[in-house]
Symmetry: C2
Subunit: 384 residues, 2 copies
């Protein structure tokens, strides 16, 4: 039997910029980036897709974007800025996905041009996927406008949409060309989105960075009340930890079963779905972190005071730490807990759940004791 072995590496690299007032004509952060990519021989194109929830609070934004991008040398802005509603519902809408693909086609966005998504994590996941499948992948730039997307989803390498009620069933790994975080957008966030975005920072601190957790303990109350300098620091540190894990963790496209950044997420995904996304992602993850932290305590991995510190941070951020769907329902198993198998299937392979060995140190298990888990649910309930 003859045989040929193929083997090659593909390099991925992108910058994440932290700025304010990106579309102020005096701010050259975005325009310099683009102009550094210009080519003398041809024009590159730009297509902007904008979150309607952002525009509602920044009504001049479409005009500002147009004036700003029209002057970028070497680039031609598509005649239309596409505004779509924001929020999770855009990920449940295949016709909307195809309408973005159609726009990429209509405006001649080729593999040297850029699609720019501006909005929350939902919009960015949708736009990133539309770009990833068009022409076998056109470049995309992300301008995240929520805490969650600035500190986690927007700086990573994944995209996706929901399919037949299954969260992120369709998607891909497609790193952005660049990411621009603009703090000004955060000033208009709904308080629920402001708060719930902080959860990913709690998550990544718990598994990787104890001093960052301690810092958040100190700042939890003022952060929650709207302390912007603290929020900028939280976002920067959280984004950096996520990026280090992706770039330095040895498995950026998640070919193995290990997924430490999903600490607290197995129950969260299911809770989001079961509540029809009335729970925000971060709220659901807050509940998930509480549950898995208490479970870690019941296993004897962390002590009671560590557990209490975790629950207190979440409560100081005014986030939920329990949900009725975690309990048995009329003698039947909790629908969230039944979702463990679905979670395993989405990841593939052996069940792999991150727990805590200490504050700042995650560790994986491949088995969950259901009795102990229901005990953890009760402890969360009583600690609310």
């Amino acid at each position: 039997m003859e045989y040929i072995q193929q083997n090659f590496n593909v390099n991925f690299s992108y910058g994440v910029f932290f700025s304010s007032n990106l579309f102020d004509p005096a701010n050259t952060c975005l325009s310099s980036f683009l102009e550094s990519k210009a080519e003398p021989a041809f024009q590159k194109k730009l297509l902007v897709i904008l979150d309607g929830g952002v525009v509602a609070h920044h009504t001049n934004l479409p005009q500002q974007i147009t004036s700003y991008l029209q002057t970028v040398r070497g680039f031609q802005l598509a005649p239309e800025i596409i505004t779509i509603s924001g929020g999770e519902s855009v990920k449940n809408d295949l016709p909307l996905l195809f309408s973005l693909v159609d726009a990429i086609d209509k405006y001649g966005i080729d593999r040297h041009s850029y699609v720019i998504g501006i909005g929350g994590g939902s919009l960015l996941d949708l736009v990133g996927f539309a770009a990833a499948v068009s022409h076998r992948g056109v470049k995309h730039i992300r301008i995240p406008t929520t805490v969650l997307s600035q500190n986690d989803s927007g700086v990573g390498v994944k995209n996706g949409v929901n399919y037949k009620g299954k969260k992120n069933f369709l998607g891909s790994f497609a790193p952005p060309a660049a990411v621009f975080n603009d703090a000004v957008f955060l000033t208009t966030l709904d308080t629920r989105d402001w708060r719930s975005g902080m959860v990913e920072a709690v998550k990544v601190a718990l598994i990787k960075d104890a001093p960052f957790f301690t810092w958040m303990e100190e700042k939890a109350v003022t952060l929650t009340a709207g302390d912007m300098p603290a929020m900028k620091e939280l976002i920067y540190r959280c984004a950096a930890l996520h990026m280090q894990h992706i770039g330095g963790g040895g498995d950026p496209f998640e070919s193995g079963s290990s997924r430490p950044l999903d600490f607290g997420h197995w129950s969260a995904h299911k809770l989001e779905q079961l509540t029809n996304f009335e729970l925000r992602h971060g709220e659901a993850v807050s509940i998930g972190i509480a549950l898995d932290s208490v479970y870690s305590f019941l296993l004897g991995w962390i002590d009671e005071s560590a557990m209490q510190r975790i629950l207190t941070v979440l409560k100081n951020m005014q986030l939920p730490i329990w949900h009725p769907l975690l309990e048995m329902q009329d003698g039947k198993p909790s629908p969230v807990i039944v979702g463990l198998e679905e979670f395993r299937e989405h990841l593939g392979g052996q069940l792999t759940i991150s727990l805590l060995r200490a504050i700042g140190k995650g560790e994986e298990v491949h088995h969950i004791d259901l009795d102990l888990l229901y005990k953890a649910v009760t402890i969360c309930k009583n600690n609310q």
Copy 2:
């Protein structure tokens, strides 16, 4: 302005195996590969998607596959083998794409499991894309059953489907987990598919490997008449050249404009489309190679005898070297030649067309002289 730089490499590797009678219980090529991937902790799953055009000639194949795969240790075969019609039309059928996604969901194919596509390049392009977008990419194995898919499309890293009449508008780069070429399938190919598959070998020899071209000149007549040992050699050498280019050419996922393996393809893609895919891909590429070789001659890049050798090989393979759509139509420009801009857009950036500096040596240009191109059309017509 703060800034974080992300940078990482992703390694891709896969083997291409050349065998015969893959599903003969005595042939352990495929089963050994799978068993080497088994894990003690859990079962992996297999879902087979089969080309109806293959089954029409190998009616026992579904049963053979079932018996063969049911005995592979560590793997569980989905209860259904999915047979779909083969040929280009499967790439024009979005509901069919989603029905494969549904099957991946229904049969619990996770990121450790395998989708196995068995069929021509069209089926493999469709199946590879369905796998690539499900769960952000489930693994797929390709078992190509045509000359073209065994020597070119099946051993590469691309997949895709057509969208709104645009060839491969939706697609991705997603290397297979492994490829198994089984020569026995080729015995039942339609003569048009047998012949047209050889064109990719002529193409890659012309741009990279003069001795291989000379070998094909000698073998053209017997190859065309059905010489299987020669065909196996042609496929092996052609696959190896394609794989070397992808793995060693520095741009496996085609981020630049350079695309030497697309020699002869700019007009071919348009001709396939304009003839509603009544021209086979290889037939269209044969015409495209003839046109671009003659154009290279008119530029003074190759001499007349080299040009004649190329046209003769294609004619000895009983392949077309001209098409009426290449000519002006009632005083209007040829619709194929108008398609040059569409080709540029699909690739992005500057127009980049491979031509020939010599037999065995491709070179790119960024400009095409239309008068000269119409002259080349006429020369092709007169040389048929």
